[in-house]
Symmetry: C2
Subunit: 198 residues, 2 copies
């Protein structure tokens, strides 16, 4: 890399900044791409600019889609009495993969975090309250947030702000993951699973 192959160094520099990649994996990916220029490298370049130009955030729920409002928000097949509040788009994908939920979504765009300096004004919480106030169909808000400190404090904050409104607020159940061995679980999970036994 002491040669003056500028674009390749620039490409490796950009790749190494992606989440989960470092210098070595970025070099490996760049060489792999260069060995498949026509079949992989140019299609990837086109897919990147195509996605950057055509995929947008839904103005209602914050999900990513080709159309705005997104396919879930505009679908007549989805139950519009439920809104599932999630931190990010990847959570929407995770829940959609299960096929177990037929309601609508609301993407906060993050979680409250004192450490990272993310406050309520950085998330889309006010807009969520507006949506609930302006629609009479909504009956239940499902807070599907991580069982972490940030996730739970965000859930508490939202619960507090939804309390004056006439909607039911529910949380995901805590307990033993399906397929999980008791032996490997932390104490907190076991205590919660014991208390919520059915």
């Amino acid at each position: 890399m002491t040669n003056n192959n500028g674009p390749l160094e620039h490409l490796i520099c950009l790749l190494s900044g992606l989440p989960g990649l470092g210098n070595r994996s970025a070099r490996r990916i760049a060489l792999h791409l260069l060995s498949k220029r026509g079949a992989l490298m140019m299609p990837l370049a086109n897919a990147l600019s195509d996605t950057a130009q055509n995929v947008k955030s839904c103005n209602i729920c914050g999900n990513l889609d080709m159309i705005d409002p997104c396919a879930i928000c505009t679908s007549h097949k989805r139950n519009n009495t439920q809104i599932c509040v999630v931190a990010g788009v990847s959570d929407v994908w995770a829940i959609e993969r299960t096929g177990a939920y037929q309601g609508k979504y609301y993407v906060l765009g993050g979680l409250l975090s004192a450490l990272d300096g993310i406050g309520p004004e950085d998330l889309r919480i006010n807009k969520l309250i507006e949506i609930i106030e302006s629609s009479e169909a909504i009956e239940e808000i499902i807070l599907a947030l991580s069982a972490t400190v940030d996730g739970q404090s965000t859930a508490h904050y939202i619960s507090d702000h939804l309390a004056p409104l006439s909607v039911k607020v529910s949380h995901l159940a805590h307990g033993v993951p399906v397929g999980g061995e008791l032996d490997y679980l932390d104490d907190g999970t076991i205590i919660t699973a014991l208390r919520s036994r059915s």
Copy 2:
């Protein structure tokens, strides 16, 4: 991902095929890119097509560069009595990073591998012999190949074919890696390091 956001699914599919990445890491990278469209996603798309169009293999040594022959092959500062034979371009980068070698390179483009069905005709071995035969300056061929079965059989094959020519053939030294603890080394390395003690 059940929505019809075609380009995003296509992008994730392409990313998940890259070495070291799977479905989950590809989704994570795609979302990270979408959150930085202007600052990262479009520059990455441009860097990919720029690199695909402008970086070429050197016709002499097989190294990657903007110019052909590459900067190392055309440099007058490099010692043209030595050729360092390596398996891939990443090996050239690894040796160049040390700054300890001032000769020229020759990239084979792989290693002989009976398991993967890679024979001598798949590597650039004949061209190496042609280069050595046609140049009177070359005095030493340094085989800098991996200390694996494939690397060592490739080194043996090349040594055999270079034997009739009037060049010295050398190999990288085997031994204890600098900073390596004896306790963690395999027996083969310790035996070789003992035999080659100095």
